[in-house]
Amino acid sequence: MKRILVASILGIAASVASTYGQGTIYFDNYVQGTVPVVWGTPAPNGYTAGEAVSDTSIIIGLYAGPGTQVSSTGLTTLLGTTPLFVTSSYGGGWFGGGSVAIPTTLWTGSQTVSFQLRPYSKGDQPVLNWTDTIWQESSDIVSISLPANTFTAETQLVLTVPEPSTIALAGLGAAALLAARKRQ
């Protein structure tokens, strides 16, 4: 019955705008408030593993892929980005990106979609690493003509800072690349 009703409003909506076939989900961990973004190992100087991330220069990205994906390489669609924030009552590690649209290439009414949170950018370098956690949503994705639901199966995003050796290697690589270009 629910599906018929949703289909009914989709039918009306389809004549109003072609975008109504899209799905939507609420890109937010604050409303449910159970899984703040935390630091893992290694954490930045002055922070410990498990501590909520209070660096509001960090931007989080929500990526999606079709069906049940097991690797981050299968999640190539960036649905939205939003900064982390801190509140006096609940601390840090929260983000609230609002409703995001899921394109019809991933969802047209009933499909399972895989999601992953990644650090998208940071005000100061280096770029952060993250744990490769992927989860799936299905029944919580609704038509874009309905108010979006929050995630129910969301996994916790754990951020880590690159090892110094990794940064050094990256620096060496960049230097080698520059040298090669100069020679050309």
């Binding site: 949703v6 009914s8 409003i9 909506a13 109003v16 649209a101 309905l146």
Partner: protein
């Protein structure tokens, strides 16, 4: 002495009469009122702003909502969800009288009553362009049934085009669509004060209601 007392008494009486006569000419052209909408915890409730509080900003209309509440506003093609964080909404859009919007409160909030306070408008006029889908609530806080017609009613019975107008009423997790056929709404559903709903029209029309 007696004359002086009488004079003073008469003067006081005259002043009182003048004052009371002046007061009898003071009247207000505004109708100010309020209504409450019950908002269960962790459940999407479709409400409508039906009064004009001056600014009509979202935060001012929903002061009872705790942090982690979400309000969803219709953009014309999708819903924009805004979360209340640290006591405020960002952005904090204007929700004009006659506009519907969803409220979702966190599970810990319990059942709340959101009270809308403000001036009552004396007429309601909502343009429904061809192929439109608008999230509304009557600009005047009337309750009644969808087939009611005329002044001091919702007037959904006569103002909208038969066979081309659909109302979508929120049923808790999805919308129930009702098409106006042969001049009336099947089932003649009741509409409560503070209730929002979608109206969709396949032809241009205007929904008017008024106080008489």
């Amino acid at each position: 002495m007696r004359t002086k007392t009488l004079f003073l008494a008469a003067a006081a009486l005259a002043a009182g009469l003048a004052s009371s006569m002046a007061q009898s000419n003071v009247y207000s052209v505004n109708i100010v009122g309020y209504y409450g909408v019950t908002v269960p915890a962790n459940s999407k409730t479709l409400v409508a702003n039906q009064l004009d509080n001056g600014t009509n900003d979202l935060a001012g209309l929903t002061t009872v909502l705790p942090n982690k509440s979400v309000c969803y506003l219709w953009t014309g093609s999708s819903f924009q969800g805004i979360t209340k964080t640290a006591g405020s909404f960002s952005p904090d859009p204007t929700v004009a009288p006659g506009t519907g919007f969803f409220i979702l409160t966190p599970a810990t909030a319990g059942t709340l009553t959101n009270t809308f306070v403000g001036q009552t408008l004396v007429s309601n006029s909502v343009a429904l362009p061809n192929s439109s889908l608008v999230l509304v609530g009557c600009m005047i806080p009337f309750s009644g049934n969808m087939n009611d017609s005329g002044a001091n009613t919702l007037n959904l019975g006569s103002a909208l085009i038969p066979n081309k107008t659909i109302a979508y009423l929120w049923a808790g997790s999805s919308f129930t669509g009702i098409t106006k056929t042969s001049g009336s709404w099947p089932g003649n559903p009741a509409i409560a004060v503070g209730q929002g709903y979608f109206l969709s029209s396949k032809g241009a029309s205007t929904w008017n209601t008024w106080i008489q």
